[in-house]
Subunit: 364 residues, 2 copies
Amino acid sequence: MVEPATATKATAPAVPQLKDELDIVIPTIRNLDFLEMWRPFFEPYHLIIVQDGDPSKTIKVPDGFDYELYNRNDINRILGPKASCISFKDSACRCFGYMVSKKKYIFTIDDDCFVAKDPSGKAINALEQHIKNLLSPSTPLFFNTLYDPFREGADFVRGYPFSLREGVPTAVSHGLWLNIPDYDAPTQLVKPLERNTRFVDAVLTIPKGTLFPMCGMNLAFNRELIGPAMYFGLMGDGQPIGRYDDMWAGWCTKVICDHLGLGVKTGLPYIFHSKASNPFVNLRKEYKGIFWQEEIIPFFQQAVLPKDCTTVQKCYFELAKQVKQKLSKVDPYFDKLADAMVTWIEAWDELNPTGASVPNGKAA
Amino acid sequence: MVEPATATKATAPAVPQLKDELDIVIPTIRNLDFLEMWRPFFEPYHLIIVQDGDPSKTIKVPDGFDYELYNRNDINRILGPKASCISFKDSACRCFGYMVSKKKYIFTIDDDCFVAKDPSGKAINALEQHIKNLLSPSTPLFFNTLYDPFREGADFVRGYPFSLREGVPTAVSHGLWLNIPDYDAPTQLVKPLERNTRFVDAVLTIPKGTLFPMCGMNLAFNRELIGPAMYFGLMGDGQPIGRYDDMWAGWCTKVICDHLGLGVKTGLPYIFHSKASNPFVNLRKEYKGIFWQEEIIPFFQQAVLPKDCTTVQKCYFELAKQVKQKLSKVDPYFDKLADAMVTWIEAWDELNPTGASVPNGKAA
């Protein structure tokens, strides 16, 4: 039986790394009591809370946390008509937090995620491990059988080309979950009692050219390197699909990372995922995605970005164009999504004017 | 400090799996005392011992093991002039054992590898885990973030396409090493004291299109699916290079597995690797490889096999042709190696006449 950690205070680092360079983004519809458990790890950092649903509701944040909070009214006010690209009644709204952040790094976590314990019983500082992952290089061009060669006690094995040992900058750190695994509705229905109890003590780079299912529950990234690709799409209220927000962001991000020579890591850190969402509700949200992903994934596997796509923004405009061209035939939804992708970048560049790109790759 | 297991008897399975379908291939130059420790796990299986070096020397095998032993005289007698493709004074000679086996599965292990312990202190039956790996499918077409979805307590995560969940047949199971890691000479020289103490409780499929450094120390494969690709090249006596035998086999095997839709797994099981080889001796053997791999790996990364290469033999002849065409300019050694690759397949088909292919892809 896995259980979350209880005492976390003793294990917080003396000097929190990247204190002024990282924002923690939390999408929520409820009071943030879960932060109590994370206090020793998160309190030094700034939080960006994106309140989903009814904006008149008050979200309580435990005392002592430094935060800014945006509800739907704020999003509409800040983005004006471009607010249409931000989902409503879906945790996909979290990407608004990425856009308003001014920091180099983002860590995003769901409010049903608690502190996990490692096999020795020690509380895991998930943020600290994400920072380690982001600050050390990735190795997408060749597989290292001893996993992350930059970890203490590990290195590149015999036969690993020396020219590739510098690695590439890491853009994304994808963390995992103990207890409730991130299963789709059909798997939840078939295996209602399955819990993830296996602590795999590894971080690894997902090889270039390989896609993966990116979960937004416990995720960190370098906003300067890849931020504009972290769009969580159009989900929830008024949309035909949900629970594919992080998947969409993951596919787009991986294709762009591969094109730009950036790395994506997965593995440690674990968080403790407390409760399974309702599989019947999930099935309703997911079922179109279950069909669509059979066409979307080959689309992303075959997507090629031209050489002149040298910024994330240019890459993203190009992807939006290809989505419109090739996925609109799957469902008119993708036509709308492609437009929202363009709006997202326009809004991003408006809020982040330095280094903004001309939208010459705009979906036409 | 990691240590090998001491008591192994209690942990052997009651019914050894694949007892009549698997051979254990061991290349050696010394008495096989190391088998004592493996007795509970290996005794039910047939061993093929390939004696390297002086054929007049007698290799002692502990009582009770069922084995056949081949020395250089045997290899020369059985293969005649084609014996030239089998290395001498190098553990690359082990691939002769793959060729003379009549079984469906091969497990090969070095004679300085002992039984490792898992974190609970239990002796690890490496062969049992390899068999599990080989008998369950691989997932090379999309990455599963919870690692092997066919393992107990795990599954495919949300966002994994349902059409890919059958997986593909597993051809190779690459196991790892606790204690002495498989480092090249430069890394050994720089980190003489580094020991691998991290037990990573995972098995994963190496994605399609990604190469890896395959180590021959603790390796199992499906001989029917991929056997003819497991040629360990020309190394040792009379050759300009050593310690790249398993790497060569790994590159060829991975390219062919990717082409034929077969899977390669890495991770569990661990063995305990007892002693580091001499880094100065290793450097002398390796140094050309350190340069050459910078050209060999891009060659294999770009290698494309035509659609009509539908058997391992046809694929291998085609690879030999491409090696001759594209790597001979790196060094005349590759011209000789390409010829040996052809000889290897001819010898394989001679000893394994059923399903032998016409060498129409012969390197010219």
